[in-house]
Symmetry: C2
Subunit: 224 residues, 2 copies
Amino acid sequence: MEKESIHDYEKPSVTADIVIFTIEKEKLKVLLVKRDLNPYKGKWALPGGFVRINESLDDAAKRELEEETGVKDVYLEQLYSFGEPKRDPRGRVITVSYMALVNSEKIALRASSDVSEAKWFNFSKEMNLAFDHDKILNYAFQRLKWKFEYTTVAFSLLPKNFTISQVQKIYEVVFNKKFDKRNFNKKIISLNIFKEEGVNKNVSYRPPMMYSLKKNIGDIVSII
Amino acid sequence: MEKESIHDYEKPSVTADIVIFTIEKEKLKVLLVKRDLNPYKGKWALPGGFVRINESLDDAAKRELEEETGVKDVYLEQLYSFGEPKRDPRGRVITVSYMALVNSEKIALRASSDVSEAKWFNFSKEMNLAFDHDKILNYAFQRLKWKFEYTTVAFSLLPKNFTISQVQKIYEVVFNKKFDKRNFNKKIISLNIFKEEGVNKNVSYRPPMMYSLKKNIGDIVSII
DNA sequence: ACAAAAGTGTTGAGAGTACACCCATGC
DNA sequence: GCATGGGTGTACTCTCAACACTTTTGT
């Protein structure tokens, strides 16, 4: 096949851009950075940067994620690669996009980002971002919904111990609809993925049972 | 964020590699090419090649697909990008993988490929391919099963008009299990995605109804 | 008449959905 | 005692799975 040599073609740049989601105050939020260089100077964009020559794609995404949020060991998954020749006016840039889910309690935005401003925004479908980042963001949101429906990624947005109503709330945020409390409890308990952790006493109402996720849960097929 | 310039970093090569599936004689087949250069000289690999500097990722995949099979306008979808620094001994090569589904009747393998040999193989989970192509192939197979379950991609493997038992057979091949004929018919007919095209008379048994896929079917949620 | 595949219904089990009231705590 | 969210059961519908015989054609 390859008479073609690795040196025959002009090479593109490759970046890893990350859609970092969190849920705070019952809103789905996404982390954006303000561009301080042309093109799109002053516009908001997804955090990201060039993949180093000796760094895997995942490592590049992890590095960018940690640079922006200070968090490690969070849920991170590759989404899709975007490579239209004209998507970046600076030249040929192929972007491998990632999605990260972080628990809002763990976030420590880099205190003073020397070159850029980073900020959490409420997610919406039209955020008017730089480059084709609206497209990437919407792709990520689709994937998020899918993953919520069929896997346990939702729990990466929650602390180690949580109540069922916390779980229900993040599902309601992501699907933008209400679920019946009784049916939700029944369904999620019947999956047998929770361990009871005792009741939380610091509330001025009936103290809720706290749960944690069991270890070694296989691939769950359907949550909702 | 980006003090980094597009020129600051050594750039990787980017290839598009394609997992081309077909079903023939009730077997799932994948198209492989024999490498005639080192590394992995003599080993079989997925068809693919470098993405040109002015070509989108999809276009690169389409070009490679047509070069190898002579087919156009078939089902093609991007899968995942693989970018471990050492995955290709020749240097840093990031591969954007694709999956194509072709109807075996339409295939015309390039009569004499000047530099390589291309051949259909029965799919198996351990084909011992060059590079990390076993990993890519298995990823593609997982995606294939998922797409069969939740979308109508299966029909890209069939001619325009088909019988229900042809549909059932390709599902049985992909999932490697038998389905009950009555339940299968009921389910697939109830989806209301078929148009009747009359009976096929050239058979020595009760002539089956031929169907075609309706146009403008939305995203089907669950086939099986 | 026989070989080959097409076509067709019913039943039982389990899952999903709709729906409303009492409970435990802090103040 | 009241405000707050926590916790629970039943009935109906719908979907899924299991299961076997008759029909139509060509030879």
